[in-house]
Amino acid sequence: MPTEKGITPQPQTLNPLELLKAIAIFRELETADLEQIVAGANWVRCPAGKIIIQEGEIGHWLYLLLSGRVQVHLGDLQLTELAPGAFFGEISLFDAQPRSATVTALEDCECLVISEQQIFQLICAQPVVAIAMIKVLAERVRELNRLFLSAEEIAFSRRS
């Protein structure tokens, strides 16, 4: 059961399968696979303003955002805003370091929380999940690189 920031599972209000189909990394999975994911996952609700993940803390959970929006930020510098269908918390899961940024609910949110072990098993059993996840992460790297370009290209080359 997820213990990060004391979030406890809540009874679900919506059909989880319908919502799971909207998650980008699960798009190519069959209903039976999705049912299996839901069975092993926890459903949590986070009110607007709630810190879901705190930078620097240890956490072993992957969050799938089913409804509401969240903000990924460092202090008050927003890195990105995520909409339903996105996932977060994956960085710590895969590099085994403390949480790299803080995630705060901008609205009342519903998340499906999956354990580290579950996601590793899923990736090994369903390569389409791995490929979809790589695609999303590659886009995030691109987004961060773009943020940098304006500042970093200030390193002008000298005129010869």
């Binding site: 460092l74 590099d95 790299s100 695609k135 790297v141 943020l147 370009l149 500042a151 290209e153 390193a155």
Partner: protein, 350 residues
């Protein structure tokens, strides 16, 4: 098909180290295409699509944006995975330093390889996770470094500082975490930016321009820039000439600038030359300069970086000994955008 030696090589590279079955490794090896390339050969060109994952077998390549060097990769390193998976154009160019041998996979082969060995998928995910963390850290260090410099200037009163704190808050709904990014020490900055020389130099150049562009160069700014230089392992020579125009926070900046002697101006020559020699060769950089350097006396200006307003620049004073260089730099940036990029620069002219 690759030789047994290549199987051993494959086992040794980080991307494939978790593959336990020899048979899976053999199947992977059978799909790898070997490419030999001469020195100085462009493998990936920024902005163009390629659609292969490259693994460096021997030799080395440099990753760069135009003339700006980002890093150098050696045997065992891989690149091209982002374009392969998200279908976007290459985010940087990769050019061979010396003759190289690469192994490559196209998108379909990569999909098959991951289906056959999920460990490859996990390795790629891990690699991207590490990069996202590094970029987050660099972004945070970079921004905090510039903010520290902006706040240190004696020209900023508490009201202005409070305004900056307000301005860096997200323009969207405020998060529940109200902590502004804290100032950063040289040691922290070095830890966040990493040991890459190029990144350190890039940071210091933008920091120096932030310090110069507000029209004054204070003791506090000098102390912080010096601390950053030392912590990042960079020489402080370039800062020495600036000391001659140090404006103490207790005196009126313009009076001191007027008192500059011809000799002091002469000491500034290297800095002036440095600014004059800056080459503008990318639109990002030109936009950054146009935003950074105020249009003319007496208009005030805000610096917007990473989509955040980070500092308010007071009116540029014509008595700033580097006024001509900064105005010229801005003019060249505008000309570059208008002539080379065919962009509409009128927003910068108002």
């Amino acid at each position: 098909m690759l030789s047994a030696i290549d199987l051993q090589f494959l086992q040794g590279i980080p991307l494939f180290k978790d593959i336990e079955q020899d048979q899976a490794l053999s199947r992977l090896a059978a799909n790898l295409e070997e490419v030999q390339l001469p020195a100085d050969h462009p493998i990936l060109v920024q902005g163009e699509q390629d659609g292969h994952l490259y693994i460096l077998r021997s030799g080395s390549v440099r990753v760069h944006l135009g003339d700006l060097e980002l890093t150098t990769l050696g045997p065992g390193a891989y690149f091209g995975e982002m374009s392969l998976f998200d279908g976007g154009p290459a985010s940087a160019s990769v050019t061979t330093c010396a003759p190289v041998i690469c192994l490559r996979l196209d998108r379909a082969q990569m999909g098959k390889a991951i289906a056959d060995c999920p460990e490859i998928g996990l390795s790629l995910i891990r690699g991207l996770a590490v990069r996202i963390r590094q970029l987050n850290q660099r972004l945070s260090g970079w921004l905090r470094g510039l903010l520290t410099l902006a706040w240190a200037d004696g020209q900023y009163n508490p009201e202005e500082q409070a305004a900056i704190v307000t301005l860096v808050h997200t323009p969207l709904e405020a998060p529940s975490d109200k902590n502004p990014l804290p100032p950063i020490s040289g040691a922290e900055l070095a830890a966040l930016l990493g040991s890459d020389n190029k990144i350190a130099q890039n940071f210091l150049r933008s920091a120096m321009i932030v310090a110069l562009a507000n029209g004054t160069y204070s003791e506090a700014e000098d102390a912080i820039l010096r601390e950053f230089c030392v912590a990042l392992g960079q020489p402080t020579d370039i800062l020495d000439p600036l000391r001659t125009v140090l404006l103490s926070s207790s005196s009126e900046g313009t009076d001191q600038a007027e008192e500059l002697t011809a000799r002091q101006l002469d000491v500034l020559q290297p800095v002036r030359q440095w600014l004059d020699e800056l080459e503008i060769d990318t639109p990002h950089q030109a936009h950054f300069l146009c935003k950074l350097i105020p249009a003319q006396c007496p208009f005030e200006r805000d610096i917007v970086l990473f989509g955040r307003k980070i500092v308010h620049i007071p009116p540029m004073c014509k008595l700033n000994p580097l006024y001509d260089q900064l105005v010229n730099l801005r003019f060249r940036a505008l000309s570059y955008l208008a002539d080379e990029c065919k962009e509409d620069v009128t927003p910068y002219l108002s």
